[in-house]
């Protein structure tokens, strides 16, 4: 008897059919991977299993009994524990990381009624030890970078006494090392009989873990692949076409550097480094969590500061005091945590796709100061076409989009206008391989500017970049071009 059997689940949002009679079983001790393009319905399925959404039709059997949690607490109590895709659903700004780790235990009363800071610290550290992660338990959760938030979510789920663990893109912002650590832990849990439903766009993850891969398309399971999985076939099933080999076309980046850092130091104590980007060049920086990639990009964008060193843009001194100045100078950045860095809350003005895209361009598009929505809608239509965003239209709320499609909107914002330097922090978070390919093509087709991409996934770095650099302890260690880049990637893996 399967541990979980979902029978003909359907769920629509307005006219969007997110799930169409989806049927899927999971055996005890099995790791099932769910693959699917952005908007295929993966997160919707997860939300139904975890009690966040109710299905319109269909049923679920868990351990042979009907299972229909109406609130998340019921799912957890039944033994289904979920790590959601969005990292701001993990902890509480204002409370500590330790509190975030123990949140479930406060809820189900496994912690004593009276809690002390000492106990929270001790218990949280024990949890982290078990999961094999290292996090500052006394830090305010609000100050935690996105990747660390994901670690909190995973650690918390791991120690829950789950029979079915659901992970919705747990590695989206983890680097190779953390991912490997996670694989080991998951395989260990599997050996102990836990079933795992695993969702990821990273084939490396799936190759390492999956016993079975279910491919979702248009809200239904179109095919399942058993081990050993033929990923090329799976991807082709998923996106409906073969994936062209995504190798950077060797291009000559010529001319003077668009952007330079000389003698830069990110922190007062760290080693200095130099960096130069040429027009038309796409450069990727990889490195472990907390290596300083985001900090470097923030400094270039004027949201943070270099501790030391000079920057030059097109040969002129460049020292932005704020993102505003950076944008005025032709520098743009898409931040790593889209919810915090790019999107307006649901139900608030500015939540539509068109408004999200137009926000930084308002003064250019509307020099008179009065807004005529037609223009931004046209631009949004263009972005939807170019990046293949699955949406009802330019006036749809970004909150009705799947995670990957939200990410595409954020990229579309900065694609909408030319610039001199584009900074992308973890741009492919949650973007499926097919779409990633489209985006990379779009990025690489622009020769008018330089692009600097921070990503913790070396595979992505190689796919997108002409040159891959690594960052470690807040300094750029090494940079090689072309084929050399591949080797760095493989070293890291």
């Amino acid at each position: 008897m399967p541990l979980l059997h979902a029978q003909a689940l359907s769920r629509s949002f307005g006219s969007t059919r997110a799930l169409v009679e989806l049927t899927l079983s999971i055996e005890p001790g099995e790791i099932v991977a769910l693959m699917g393009a952005n908007g295929a319905g993966k997160s919707t399925f997860v939300k139904i299993l975890s009690g966040v959404l109710a299905p319109d039709a269909g049923s679920v059997l868990f351990k042979g009994r009907p299972y229909a949690p109406s609130v998340p607490a019921e799912a957890t109590a039944a033994g289904v524990v979920t790590v959601h895709q969005s990292t701001d659903l993990v902890g509480i700004p204002g409370l500590t990381v330790g509190d975030a780790l123990l949140l479930n235990r406060f809820v189900d009363r496994r912690e004593p009624f009276f809690v002390s800071r000492r106990r929270v610290r001790r218990e949280a550290q024990a949890m982290l030890r078990e999961a094999g992660f290292d996090l500052p338990v006394d830090r305010n959760f609000a100050e935690l970078p996105a990747a660390d938030r994901q670690l909190v979510a995973i650690a918390r789920a791991l120690v829950n006494r789950a029979e079915l663990l659901i992970l919705d893109e747990p590695t989206a912002s983890l680097s190779a090392a953390e991912s490997r650590r996670l694989y080991a832990t998951l395989l260990d849990l599997k050996r102990r009989g836990m079933a795992i439903l695993y969702i990821s766009h990273r084939t490396a993850d799936l190759a390492a873990l999956a016993d079975r891969v279910a491919v979702l398309r248009g809200g239904r399971v179109v095919e399942t692949f058993a081990r050993p999985v033929d990923f090329d076939a799976a991807i082709e099933t998923m996106i409906g076409r073969p994936l062209a080999s995504a190798r950077p076309d060797a291009r000559r980046a010529d001319g003077d550097p668009v952007f330079e850092i000389s003698g830069g130091r990110l922190l007062p104590g760290s080693e200095p480094f130099d960096l130069a980007l040429r027009r038309g060049e796409v450069v990727a920086i990889t490195g472990v969590l907390g290596a300083g990639k985001s900090r470097l990009l923030s400094a270039v964008f004027g949201a943070g500061r270099l501790a030391e060193g000079a920057m030059r843009l097109d040969g002129a001194r460049y020292a932005p005091e704020s993102p505003r100045e950076a944008i005025a100078a032709g520098v743009a950045m898409a931040g790593e945590d889209r919810h915090r860095s790019s999107l307006m809350p649901a139900g608030w003005p500015g939540e539509t796709i068109a408004e999200t895209i137009s926000l930084p361009h308002l003064s250019r598009w509307y020099p008179s100061g009065f807004i005529r929505p037609r223009r931004e809608r046209a631009k949004a239509e263009a972005a939807i076409d170019r990046l293949g965003i699955r949406a009802a239209g330019p006036t749809a709320s970004v909150w009705t989009l799947s995670g990957g499609n939200q990410q595409k909107v954020v990229l579309g914002r900065w694609e909408a206008e030319p610039g001199r330097l584009l900074l992308l922090d973890e741009p492919f978070q949650g973007v499926d391989v097919g779409a990633r390919h489209d985006i990379i093509t779009a990025i690489r087709s622009r020769t008018d500017r330089a692009t600097l991409i921070a990503t913790s996934d070396p595979e992505e770095a190689i796919e997108v970049a002409d040159r891959v650099l690594t960052m470690d302890h807040h300094t750029i260690r090494e940079g090689r071009a072309g084929a050399g880049a591949r080797r760095i990637g493989e070293d890291a893996r």
């Binding site: 629509s12 949002f13 307005g14 939300k47 966040v52 959404l53 109710a54 319109d56 959601h84 969005s86 701001d88 659903l89 964008f301 949201a303 704020s322 993102p323 505003r324 950076a326 944008i327 005025a328 950045m333 931040g335 919810h339 915090r340 860095s341 790019s342 999107l343 307006m344 809350p345 649901a346 139900g347 608030w348 003005p349 500015g350 939540e351 408004e355 926000l359 930084p360 308002l362 003064s363 509307y366 100061g369 009065f370 807004i371 909150w399 914002r413």
Partner: protein, 341 residues
């Protein structure tokens, strides 16, 4: 501020459409019902002069409410507006009666005072990072006391004896009084015209311009706005300066109507304009601050109070009914929309 997964199981059907209509129109339906009811009970209610009286009575609250709306849009809250309006009444009276200045000097001076107070609020909030409520609450206390210091707590009317024993010689400029007491074409009171102008200007500013978009963006996600190049500090400052200036404009209208400077904390002005702004959330079912809604909210309360007074309801019944109708409107707007609660 909700995020991603806040979905309800809603599929549009006939019931859904009715619900949506009720939700968007709740306030208007109630307003219409009130007008019909009051007119039936007391035909003098629908008389044009009475309708103008209603608009005039709500004009100050509506002007202040528009300011509240702008601060709500940037995610802030201005608790000081009542005190700013009260201080402006005192300031206008002081300038005319003690300094002996005329309307053309008084009005800009008082507006400047309001703008300056808004600027100080913004300084506390933007520069010193004091939370909005805290900063504006302190400002409220400060002004409540400050407005009384020049006259040692006395009301300001012609012949005022100053703390140093001298007698003030000025008087209210008749021109100034026109701001509160004259009517356009003998029908539309000037305060109503001012309210209309403020409403249109602020509506256009918040809903139809780049700046409005950025104001709301600042309130929605300040970090994201800053990262998109929005000058969030300047936008917040703008919002508080607008709110302070509108509050002092409200104070000028009050002063021009009452013709003297009386001690008041402005607490009821504050509560009423906050109420108008919050009822505004329900108007059109928008569930967010919006200037149009605020004006409708103010008128809504004005119609209710005027009608009840005409029907001779005791004053305490008015508060009760105000609360009850508010709850009713809210339950309709918010409660009806979601099928399952």
């Amino acid at each position: 501020m909700t995020t991603a997964h806040d979905d309800t199981a809603s599929r549009p059907g006939a019931g859904e459409h009715l619900r949506e209509f009720l939700r968007a129109g709740a306030v208007f339906i109630l307003l219409f019902a009130m007008v019909v009811g009051f007119t039936a009970a007391q035909p003098a209610f629908i008389n044009i002069n009475n309708l103008m009286s209603i608009l005039q009575a709500v004009s100050v609250v509506a002007i202040l409410g528009a300011g509240v709306t702008v601060t709500l849009a940037v995610g802030g809250f201005d608790l000081s507006i009542g005190a700013v309006a009260a201080s402006s009444v005192m300031a206008a009276s002081y300038v005319m009666i003690v300094w002996g200045l005329g309307a053309f000097a008084t009005i800009p001076l008082v507006l400047l005072l309001g703008a300056a107070i808004g600027f100080v609020n913004a300084f506390l909030i933007v520069r010193l990072k004091v939370p909005d409520l805290l900063a504006t609450l302190s400002m409220m206390f400060l002004l409540t006391g400050l407005q009384l210091i020049p006259t040692a707590g006395r009301s300001i009317s012609p012949g005022l004896i100053l703390p140093d024993g001298t007698t003030a010689t000025g008087a209210y400029d008749p021109l100034f009084l026109l701001v509160g007491r004259s009517s356009l074409f003998g029908i539309v009171p000037l305060p109503v015209v001012i309210m209309g102008v403020v409403a249109v200007l602020l509506f256009v500013l918040t809903e139809r311009t780049r700046i409005g978009r950025l104001l709301f963006a600042t309130g929605g996600n300040e970090l994201a706005t800053r990262l998109a190049g929005g000058p969030t500090d300047r936008l917040k400052t703008l919002a508080y300066v607008i709110s302070g200036t509108l509050a002092s404009l409200g104070g000028i209208v009050v002063a021009a109507r009452v013709g003297r400077g009386d001690v008041s904390s402005g607490a009821s002005l504050l509560m009423d304009s906050v109420a108008a702004a919050l009822i505004g959330f329900a108007v059109l079912g928008l569930r967010r601050p919006n200037v149009f809604g605020t004006i409708v909210g103010a008128v809504f309360v004005g119609v209710l109070l005027n009608g009840l007074t005409m029907l001779n309801a005791p004053y305490y019944a008015q508060d009760f009914v105000k609360g009850a109708v508010l709850v009713g409107a809210l339950a309709l707007t918010y409660g009806v929309a979601r099928g399952r609660a």
